[in-house]
């Protein structure tokens, strides 16, 4: 019995790489999901939205220009080593290999970067990942679409400036930066320092040790500094804890601006009343009044399919999954216009990602007006100059409180380039000459 199991297991593992599909016109999209582990709620909902969007395209349009989308899940449990295993397992999936990888996991994105470069498969990291990978000359296969942490941070300052009544009013203001003490949390410190110099405010950094359940000492220090605004770069349980502690010291919640990892329902509901008025950055709103989500409900859920529980449709995480669906499939569509309407390789999809234009007309066609900012990627700019908007929690739902805000690219672009060049030097990468790309 044991032997049989073992043999079938080995056969099973071996066969994964060698299943030959007979349908040629299928585009494979890998789903390295995490339904278990500490961030399961986010993983299941975002990837669920992503898969639902693809299912909707298959049901409504028969795929992308007749090329059906197929996908397969691989559980990573949010661990980079499991993610690498999933990557290796799915990268050569028939017929043409993986179109691109979305890990929804910054450490995994870092770990896979070199492999994808070698295997010529693009990584798409929508709203997370390595900020300097926006420099497409050094990172030809990485696409931090929509907006990176660095640019998002500049919009927070712009938002605060607007609230204060103009950027010049920021002079002399005090901002407390409460961050998750990890690579993710620390990443924006240099940008905040540069912004402080530019606008003349002072910024004080307060690290919170992972997981962030104990923050009394930190918030006492914040009280001593008596800042005008708090920037919260929280993650997971750190968010509700921070909100509760801020209420305890009497800091006004509507003067706390969070990163978008703080801006889901899961982050604020546990904090109860303390979260009322909390503001976070976002690159898409919640809610299901958008055409694209109505289509998903009509073509997927009304037929009894769908990857998630109906109740979470329209939540922040789920809608982020829809954004993943839109940007990834539009990149494939853009590549198809160049290479023909057939299943494409990762290398060809990369071209599509580098020539992705999301304009107002396209948003209208997609049923995503106001749902997604316009963007346009180029060889130099893999981020696409996305914009950010802000949302506020009213106790039951997130409401939009700003228009699309353009990040301070003048400030971040030189930093991105400098950081990318340092990477190139360490790694011995020769940056591409974008004028020679077609």
């Amino acid at each position: 019995m044991k032997n049989n199991l073992l043999i079938s297991a080995i056969a099973g593992i071996l066969s994964v790489g060698s299943v030959v599909s007979n349908a040629a016109e299928e585009q494979f999209v890998p789903i390295p999901i995490y339904r278990t582990g500490p961030y399961a709620a986010g993983g299941a909902a975002v990837f669920g939205g992503f898969m639902d969007y693809m299912a909707m395209l298959n049901a409504r349009d028969g795929g992308i220009n007749g090329v059906k989308l197929t996908w397969e899940e691989c559980e990573t449990a949010y661990k980079p080593d499991r993610g690498i295993e999933c990557y290796e397992r799915m990268k050569d999936h028939p017929p043409t290999g993986a179109a691109m990888f979305n890990f929804l996991n910054t450490p995994m994105t870092y770990a896979a970067m070199e492999r994808t470069d070698k295997d010529k498969i693009p990584i798409v990291s929508i709203g997370y990942g390595r900020a300097d990978s926006a420099d497409g000359r050094v990172f030809p296969y990485v696409f931090p679409l929509a907006t990176t942490y660095w640019n998002q941070t500049t919009t927070k300052i712009k938002f605060i400036g607007a609230k204060e009544g103009g950027m010049d009013k920021l002079k002399g203001k005090k901002i407390a930066h409460v961050y998750h003490d990890s690579g993710f949390g620390k990443e924006t410190i240099p940008v905040l320092e540069a912004l402080a110099k530019k606008h003349g405010f002072t910024v004080q950094h307060y690290p919170v040790a992972h997981p962030g359940l104990e923050q009394k000492a930190v918030w006492l220090q914040v009280r001593q500094q008596a800042p005008d605004w708090v920037i919260l770069r929280g993650w997971g349980v750190m968010n509700p804890t921070a909100l509760k502690e801020s209420k305890r010291i009497g800091f006004p919640t509507d003067h706390i601006v969070g990163v978008w990892w703080s801006g889901s329902e899961e982050d604020v509901i546990p904090a109860g009343d303390a979260a009322k008025g909390f503001i976070t950055a976002a690159f898409h709103p919640g809610g299901k009044e958008f055409g694209v989500i109505k289509d998903v409900e009509k073509f997927v859920y009304e037929k009894g399919n769908g990857a998630v529980d109906k109740k979470i449709i329209g939540s922040i995480y789920y809608n982020r999954g829809i954004i993943h669906g839109i940007l990834n499939t539009e990149a494939i569509r853009s590549a198809q216009e160049h290479f023909g309407k057939k299943a494409l390789t990762g290398e060809q999809v990369r071209w599509g990602l580098e020539h992705l234009t999301i304009d107002e007309a396209m948003l209208k066609k997609l049923g995503a007006e106001g749902f997604l900012s316009t963007m346009k990627t180029t060889c130099e700019d893999h981020e696409g100059s996305g914009k950010v908007r802000f949302q506020q929690w009213d106790g039951t739902k997130w409401n939009s409180v700003s228009d699309w805000i353009t990040p301070d690219y003048e400030l971040t672009r030189p930093m991105v380039e400098a950081s990318a060049m340092q990477y190139a030097k360490e790694k011995g990468v020769t940056p591409r000459d974008c004028s020679k790309e077609k």
Binding site: C74, E85, E88, E114, D181, Y423, E426
Partner: protein, 354 residues
């Protein structure tokens, strides 16, 4: 029938003290090594080499490290992942700041740095024992990951605290293929496993085991507590450090300190508990169990495809994994290595038991 040792006479101390006193074991080991070194790189796919065998070997090395400390010297530790982190960051800094050093020297130096840190955190073991010591080593786990994130120097002031391995050069060649990285990992792990096996069979190993079994008695018969315990910490951390460096350089390529969190420490501890506490073979078996089983379950769940809801499948994976751990611990609390030993005892009589 096949595994019978009659007719094999030991005519000297050397023969009696050999690692594999039975001829069949020698042959089996030789065949295993030949398969691992020659056949596997030829037949295995890049997926198998790069994402299954390399992490398995590296974690086996870390498990050997912890087994030396916990299994042989009896000092419970929850800081193995932290020492891996020290190794990874040390190797990175050696490679970055002293680029003329060959790669293997980087790895060894990384192990030495980890050993030094291990000695430091081993000092409390002279006063505290058992579970209390485990809690004291937790301090290492938190302090080290905190320190590596906190002080930018360790990651060359990378904004996100991430270190990236340089290009892997050996004898003027760049190791890019999975099989070359596999062979390098395998060679290092094989050499260190042999060293560990000999160490635990030597005077040092016997001293460790004496301390494990009863430290007062060990002291009475003249074993020096300070040196022996700290040596166990140093050797254990050295192994973990090398494993961490391999993890960063030959497996992931890019890591941050969070990759070596408490969960990783627990994982290594589970490996030696399931594999066999106080057994080098057990370290490999345990690592295989912990690394390969979840992937195997994931693949099996994938075979059921659409008949099983994806959500259920991922949770089944965790449930079955947990159930199997309990099953093996009930069947044989001394781990998989002990199961293997029992099998061998039975094979000696097979097919004619008394």
């Amino acid at each position: 029938m096949f595994y019978r040792e009659c007719g094999q006479f030991k005519s000297g101390y050397a023969a009696d003290q050999a690692i594999f006193p039975i001829l069949q074991d020698k042959i089996a080991m030789g065949v295993l090594l030949a398969v691992a070194f020659i056949v596997v790189p030829l037949v295995a796919t890049e997926y198998w080499l790069g994402s299954i065998l390399i992490p398995f070997l590296i974690l086996s090395l870390a498990a050997i490290g912890l087994n030396i400390l916990t299994g042989y010297a009896g000092q419970l530790s929850l800081g193995s992942a932290a020492f891996m982190a020290v190794g990874a960051f040390a190797a990175y800094n050696f490679a970055l700041r002293l680029p003329m050093l060959p790669l293997v020297v980087d790895f060894i130096l990384a192990g030495v740095v980890a050993a030094a840190v291990g000695i430091l955190f081993g000092l409390p073991s002279l006063r505290i024992k058992g579970f209390y010591l485990a809690v004291a080593t937790l301090a290492a786990q938190f302090f080290i990951t905190w320190g590596l994130t906190r002080f930018g120097w360790f990651s060359n002031n990378s904004a996100s605290g991430v270190i990236t391995a340089p290009r892997i050069m050996m004898f003027g060649y760049e190791l890019t293929s999975a099989s070359s990285r596999y062979l390098l990992t395998l060679s290092i792990v094989a050499v260190f496993a042999l060293l560990a096996k000999n160490m635990v069979r030597s005077q040092i190993g016997r001293a460790w085991m004496a301390i494990r079994d009863m430290d007062i008695a060990a002291e009475v018969i003249g074993i020096k507590m300070l040196q022996t315990k700290l040596l166990a910490f140093a050797v254990s951390s050295f192994y973990c450090g090398v494993a961490g460096a391999l993890w960063a350089f030959l497996y992931l390529g890019t890591v941050d300190a969070q990759a070596f969190d408490l969960n990783r420490s627990f994982e290594i501890l589970f490996m030696i508990i399931i594999g066999g506490v106080g057994s080098i073979l057990g370290s490999f078996l345990g690592a295989a169990f912990i690394v390969l089983l979840p992937i195997f379950l994931n693949v099996v769940a994938g075979l059921f495809g659409s008949s099983l809801h994806a959500d259920t499948a991922s949770h089944f994976e965790v449930m079955i994994f947990g159930a199997l751990i309990i099953f093996f611990l009930i069947v044989e609390p001394h781990g998989l290595a002990r199961l293997w030993q029992i099998t061998k005892e039975k094979l000696r009589l097979w097919p004619f038991p008394h």
